[in-house]
């Protein structure tokens, strides 16, 4: 009985009518591994991305631009990187110039934060709600996504739309990477490949997204009246199955692309040209 008295929260599996079992879980497998890995990887990404967002340099090496800084829209951007002009001008807070990355990163960040797959991952890994299936969570109260701020998760589709715009821009970036450093077309480097892959992964991530699946056909009641949308829905549904894979691959892709460009821009390596 001692164990039972030490129960901190008398709800959930420790509610009086439920079978009297002291353990929070009787799972014998390594259920903690998955959330621990997720936690580690996501935290590493956040640290790296934060560092890069505030570094404000080494993100452009003609013609390559880092996805963290594209499109670069403020006057603070390094020379040559402002393919779409500088509509934002320059904004300072307390005398500090805001990094041009911050105007951009908010969108992919929002897209990933509200993504149905990432929600699962970070609710488990960071919030432990629940840490794993059939493992009692530590919280006393739970209201899910019914109140602020989590009710904002319902805005996923707006970030999805923004993500599509960014995908177009990053694809544009990959296309101009077929130039050489002097601006002449018809060349291709390792950097071109990296940007192309990055853009492809991002397209796959967006196209496999649950909101995309809903928009393209999922909201229909009768598929048979919309044969083309049904066809598109079946394709997206197949991709959707791999959405978690695309979510991770594209995340690594973005970080790797940025790292590659940083190494090139900082002079640590040279961008090898195939032709």
């Amino acid at each position: 009985m001692a164990l039972i008295d030490s129960r901190k929260v008398v709800t959930g599996v420790f509610t009086k009518e439920r079978p009297e079992i002291a353990e929070r879980t009787l799972r014998t497998d390594r259920w903690w591994l998955q959330p621990a890995l997720t936690f580690g990887v996501l935290i590493s990404f956040v640290i790296y991305a934060t560092f890069r967002a505030f570094e404000k340099k080494y993100y452009f090496a003609e013609p390559l631009i880092s996805p963290f800084y594209s499109p670069c829209l403020s006057t603070a951007c390094v020379e040559g990187s402002t393919h779409f002009g500088t509509p934002i001008g320059s904004i300072t807070i307390f005398g500090l110039l805001i990094s041009p990355a911050l105007f951009i990163l908010i969108f992919p960040l929002g897209f990933r934060m509200t993504c149905y797959y990432y929600r699962k991952s970070y609710y488990r890994a960071f919030w432990m709600s629940p840490p794993a299936c059939a493992v009692a969570e530590p919280h006393k109260k739970y209201t899910g996504e019914t109140r602020a701020p989590l009710i904002l998760q319902n805005g996923h589709r707006w970030f999805f739309y923004a993500g599509l715009v960014l995908n177009v821009i990053l694809t544009y970036d990959a296309i101009i990477a077929f130039k050489n450093a002097d601006g002449q077309w018809g060349h291709m480097s390792v950097g071109t490949l990296v940007l192309l892959l990055n853009a492809s992964f991002l397209w796959l991530y967006s196209a496999s997204c649950h909101t995309c699946r809903h928009t393209i056909g999922g909201r229909l009641k009768n598929f048979s009246k919309h044969p083309l949308r049904y066809k598109a829905w079946t394709v997206v549904s197949r991709l959707n199955h791999y959405h978690p894979n695309f979510a991770w691959v594209s995340l690594f892709g973005v970080a790797f692309t940025d790292l590659y460009i940083r190494l090139v821009a900082s002079g640590a390596i040279t961008n090898f040209y195939f032709f």
């Binding site: 439920r18 929600r119 019914t146 649950h210």
Partner: protein
């Protein structure tokens, strides 16, 4: 062929209970329900366990095996290591009655709260015409055998007894999705009700329901998330909301 295996079976009732160790014979190809039956026939004549078909079709023998919600009839003894003790407990999200039997009446109450199928008033028997592609989504959800493992594993109620009032649970989200996607269902307010009365917004899509479903229904991806998106259409998307006002219908039919 037969060997001895170690089981720890939870025995007790609503007042108290504990895990009891037993050693029992297991033969090749047997499932956990078989060894439970052997324990019942040879050592514990009054060991309470629910079961019916023993073929994974009725969803009666739901319990937790090594902490995981499972059907005992579909869990092979061979999946465990020879020297491993298999721990068997009742479902931990529901009140216990005795031993491995729990009171699952919560689920029947919730079933009653979901508004029934409502076909067009003038639909005559034999007149319905539906295309296979239009019924397939709902058919997936109708595979549900009501084992209630998804309800058991869902942390919204498993870990928060107080949420039982306001949360229908995954089994009934697929029922709502089934009806909302049913070509002949005419009820217009299912999406709103899902959010406002059945607690769809409580779900944080951590997918445990999908993980435990013995019928491999993609509860989260094919029912809950599509319903959440449909709710956004009618509640949180001003553009679509405006569109629906102009066209006087809820979403595109």
């Amino acid at each position: 062929m037969s060997k001895k295996i170690n089981l720890r079976i939870w025995r007790g009732d609503v007042n108290s209970g504990k895990l009891e160790d037993v050693v029992v014979e297991a033969n090749e190809g047997e499932v956990v329900l078989d060894v439970i039956h052997r324990v019942q026939a040879t050592q514990m004549g009054d060991l309470a366990v629910r079961w019916n078909c023993k073929a994974g079709k009725c969803g009666s023998c739901s319990m937790e095996i090594n902490g995981k919600p499972r059907l005992a009839c579909m869990t092979q003894v061979a999946n465990f290591n020879e020297d491993e003790t298999i721990t068997i407990t009742p479902l931990r999200a529901f009140p216990v009655i005795k031993d491995l039997v729990t009171d699952v009446s919560f689920n029947y109450k919730k079933a009653m709260e979901i508004e029934a199928f409502s076909p067009p008033a003038d639909l005559k028997p034999g007149q319905a015409r539906m295309q296979q592609i239009d019924v397939e989504r709902s058919q997936e959800f109708r595979k549900c055998i009501e084992c209630f493992l998804c309800q058991d594993t869902c942390h919204v109620i498993r870990d928060h007894e107080e949420n039982k009032k306001s949360f229908a649970g995954p089994r009934f989200f697929i029922r709502i999705a089934e009806l909302d996607m049913h070509p002949l269902d005419m009820l217009k307010n299912r999406k709103k009700k899902a959010q406002e009365e059945h607690g769809l917004g409580m779900c944080n899509i951590t997918k445990c329901c999908t993980e435990v479903c013995p019928e491999h229904i993609k509860i989260t991806d094919n029912a809950i998330i599509p319903m959440k998106e449909r709710v956004v259409d009618v509640k949180y998307d001003p553009v679509r909301w405006l569109g629906s006002k102009i066209r006087k219908r809820e979403g595109i039919v």
